[in-house]
């Protein structure tokens, strides 16, 4: 229907964006009737998201004309932004931004670098940046989940942790059950994505490849490749961030710093 009204592709895509945003607004408006007020959050998030993706699209268009290593700079900027975003999930955790940024840089960055060097990811910007951004975005989500869980668990089990310390346990031993639970729970989305691949969902990358004329089998297998890389980078990110944050929660005298204000 829209295609009949809008002949200019730019007008068409803006109308599509407006309708999609409207659907989201209707849903959050319904939620408000049940006392859940997310309208302002949703409006700000959508407005911000749209501007960000337009900005990135414009930058990509410019970078495409430059050398290949331009893609590297863009990915580094994405890692820093991802670190800042997921650190917000760990309010009160000392050094959450540094921990998140390093964890994503090590987790997603190393997988991107190794896979690009091995030729699994094409080093052209048009391939490196979209695939790399998928790895970074998923690493960011995993990191946010891990930090959020570890923060909640430590705050809820301060008594148990300090009891262990008072009995002579080392700091890392006193929080071991909560670090393990944070790692496991943060990996659930990435594992479920691979598990349900093709049955519950057909990811955007595969759909895009099919739409652009790629062979279905190639598109399917490459989608698996990307999801396996997401699993690897998310797992490494979560592992690194939980280890780093564990060290930051204690002083050098094994005193727990993350506690409810008393």
């Amino acid at each position: 229907m829209l295609k009949r009204i809008f002949t200019d592709p730019l007008h068409l895509v803006l109308a599509q964006a407006l309708l999609a945003a409207l659907a989201a607004i209707i849903v959050v408006s319904l939620a408000r009737r049940r006392g859940i007020n997310l309208i302002s959050d949703a409006l700000i998030a959508m407005g911000r998201g749209l501007l960000q993706i337009i900005a990135v699209g414009s930058i990509l268009a410019l970078l495409l004309k430059g050398p290949r290593w331009n893609g590297g700079w863009l990915l580094i900027a994405m890692i820093v932004a991802a670190g800042a975003t997921s650190a917000r999930r760990a309010k009160g955790v000392p050094g959450a931004f540094a921990v998140s940024t390093w964890a994503i840089a090590i987790g997603a960055g190393s997988v991107i670098a190794i896979m690009t060097a091995l030729g699994v990811i094409d080093s052209r910007i048009t391939s490196l940046v979209p695939v790399g951004s998928m790895l970074i975005a998923n690493a960011m989500n995993t990191n946010g989940l891990a930090l959020n869980r570890i923060r909640a668990d430590v705050l809820a089990h301060t008594g148990e942790i300090e009891t262990a310390l008072a009995l002579g346990a080392e700091a890392h031993v006193s929080v071991a059950p909560y670090v393990q639970a944070a790692f496991e729970s943060s990996m659930i989305p990435a594992i479920d994505s691979v598990r349900s691949l093709g049955i519950v969902w057909i990811p955007g990358l595969m759909a895009g490849m099919l739409l652009s004329g790629a062979r279905p089998l190639y598109a399917a297998v490459y989608q698996f490749v990307v999801l396996a890389m997401i699993l690897a980078s998310s797992g490494l990110t979560s592992l690194v961030s939980t280890l780093f944050i564990r060290a930051r929660m204690f002083t050098s005298a094994s005193q727990l710093m993350l506690r409810q204000e008393r």
């Binding site: 008594g159 300090e162 310390l165 008072a166 009995l167 005298a253 094994s254 005193q255």
Partner: protein, 231 residues
């Protein structure tokens, strides 16, 4: 020539101990000594700094002023794990770890690679009147039983100083009397130096010979418990 009997050195000495957080003074210039076999009660209203003081004594929190000497050594020079083994803590709530009574009792020594023998395990359970409870799951224990396990778990580390943070305030009256008498026996039998934090003045009189009365983080009175609590 007759000489005066030598006074044994204090096992624990707090010297000008203080703690401030974000510019707010929680505790200021706390000084006291404690000898083996002696019990000191810390009394005072809520928010007076009683629990803050106890947390400084086993270095769960860091003093921002002064220090504590254990057997004459500045505790900042003692590895925290070693210090906390020597200065045992029994908290208001027992915070038992999931598993059996036996696993809880073995926890402390296991942290330094020591295995508690079955004989010592039985002895510890006997001390807290829980003989035969070794394989019980802690999830199925009553409040009083859980607190006994908590006491035995602390004793498994063979501390020379025992910190008691309102150890009976979460218990019913019957359990309270039992735990109190149990702690008194243990402290006397093992000649432990004991610091008891309590809001219950009668309990302070029953359990400790001396007391410090705190208010707003400062010692406002100290001396024999009866005099401090009834003045």
């Amino acid at each position: 020539m007759n000489t005066l009997p030598a006074i044994p050195p204090a096992i624990l000495r707090a010297e000008d101990l203080g703690r401030s957080v974000n510019g707010k003074t929680l505790l200021e210039k706390i000084t006291f000594e404690l000898h083996a076999g002696e019990a000191l009660a810390i009394v005072g209203p809520s928010g007076s700094g009683k629990s803050t003081l106890l947390r400084l004594l086993n270095r769960l929190d860091e003093p921002t002023a002064g220090t504590v000497y254990i057997d004459g050594s500045d505790y900042k020079g003692i590895e925290p794990r070693v210090l906390r083994r020597r200065v045992g803590l029994v908290t208001q709530r027992p915070f038992l770890f999931p598993g059996t009574v036996e696993q809880n009792l073995r926890y402390g020594p296991l942290q330094r690679g020591e295995i508690v023998s079955d004989e010592i395990l039985s002895e510890l359970l006997g001390k807290v009147c829980l003989t035969g409870y070794s394989s019980r799951n802690v999830a199925n224990l009553s409040g009083g039983e859980s607190q006994r396990v908590s006491v035995a778990r602390t004793l498994a580390n063979s501390p020379s100083i025992l910190l008691l943070d309102e150890p009976t305030s979460a218990l019913d009256d019957a359990s309270k009397i039992e735990i109190e008498s149990l702690l008194l026996n243990i402290v006397h039998e093992q000649k432990l130096a004991c610091v008891l934090v309590t809001h219950d003045k009668a309990q302070a009189v029953r359990m400790a010979g001396r007391a410090l009365l705190l208010a707003d983080g400062k010692v406002i009175r100290s001396g024999p418990t009866g005099e401090v609590t009834h003045a």
